[in-house]
Amino acid sequence: MKRLKLSKNAKDNLITYGIVILAYVIMQIMINTGHISSLLQGLLVPLCVYVILAVSLNLTVGILGELSLGHAGFMCVGAFAGAFFSRYMQNVIEVSLLRFLIAIIIGAVSAGIVGFLIGMPVLRLRGDYLAIVTLAFGEIIKSIINVLYIGKDSSGLHFSMKDSMSLGLAEDGDVIINGAQGITGTPKDATFTIGIVLIILTLIIVLNLIHSRDGRAIMSIRDNLIAAESIGINITKYKLMAFSVSAALAGMAGVLYSHNLSSLMATPKNFGYNMSIMILVFVVLGGIGNIRGSIISAVILTLLPELLRGLSNYRMLIYSIVLIVMMLFNWSPKLINLRKKYSLRRLFKKTGEVR
């Protein structure tokens, strides 16, 4: 019989933090001794972004038990809100760390608010209906950003949904968000170290939330909505809490993402449903509800196409085959039974060598 010890939770969490810190130390040593390719070095911040996205989506999918296909939309909100702030304040706040810190807070809060506003009407839908509505919202967010123009001049901020000319900026004007061209010139404030700190912060928030009174309420809704209601748990409140926190963390990842690029555009590739799906793949492959699994699978699946780079055109094909085979291997009831039957542990058990 499976046992779930309370102290095991604490130990489990420590291992998770340990893995992240260990990975950081190893990478730092490799960077300092020059044992790292420039390609991999360029991937370090995106890796942090994907890890945060995967962990935060797992809060919605694994802990709340609702399928969301709009996670990239929240990332998009955070990325643009944060980048907008940094561009606007570039010459006002000179200390880049402080400016970035505020940008992160702004990005996370904006995405959290958007998550809350979207969650309020849609969280009463269930399963695949919720999935398609979140996908729809993600696409709407992306479309809106693509027709959004914001500029500043001496008289303040100007908004338009038409083009940069209709902003009517004065001579000293500066177009910050330029529709489909997005934001250019965002300060590159994101570093690997900040990325790791944000991962740890995400883990603290998510893991501590799960193992608290609120987390229990959220998981009770996942396990049995009707029973949760019957013991007086406020379904709407806790669904919204999980959904908004998850959105805010995705927003934070977005800020990290946008401050790693000199030009930021909302394209189907980075903020479309394909991105949301990719994050979902991390979560499902890492284990639904398994936070550490999300971290590991986000890292492996981001590195895999890069490692396969030598295979040029075949790499995405191989990636897709690996994905299908892994899903079948992990989830097919027949294969699971087969694995149990021939697992090494069982073979050893028969000979009595391993207890």
Partner: protein, 253 residues
Amino acid sequence: MAALLEVKNLGISFGGLRAVDDFEVSIKKGQLYGLIGPNGAGKTTVFNLLTGVYKPSEGIITLDGVNITGLKTIEINKAGIARTFQNIRLFKELSVIDNVKAGLHNHYKYATIEGILRLPNYFKMEKAMTEKAMELLKVFELEKEADYLAANLPYGKQRKLEIARALATEPKLLLLDEPAAGMNPNETMELMDTIRFVRDSFDMTILLIEHDMKLVSGICEELTVLNFGRILTQGATGTVLNDPQVITAYLGE
């Protein structure tokens, strides 16, 4: 003494079907009350009406002098009614103790931020919750399985855990929907003792649906018999069970 639960003229229709019609009951504080009747008589529907899962088409439900008609499930639970389900509804992926702690949700509070930052109040309240939950688990002899996943408990213990979880919400009235379903005679005897113990030591009022006549006649003081959504008869257990109408309803013509 005034009644704890007072139901008058309760009814609901699904489409054209009259599922419950003119249901009335009055349960005194501390009573062990039984709701019986053949399959499909509308017993669980009455529970769903009492707990706000369905909104009654008409009628008034009063709990401890407060009108709770038409309130939502959550509000009704806060007002003091807790229940178990015919088809067990546990939080399967949570541990046994966490199931009970979820039931304590509205009685031991701390802010979300206190939980995330692990402030002193978090540790204080969690400790108090764990103690209270263990106390309840002991009543149902589940303390050894506290850290098991609820899904891994044997059937009889799952039923007990559901009762423990309901009690954790500190209700005034406890509704048990077929608590002995699927139990063997020994387990049923044990369950009867537990129900009596709960009533006595928690000063609880209990309304239960049951098919096991041994259990009903053994512990219920009064009964209401439902048939086709209407009350067939009600009164003291001994009288009701000897009523020829009841025997006909159960055995057929």
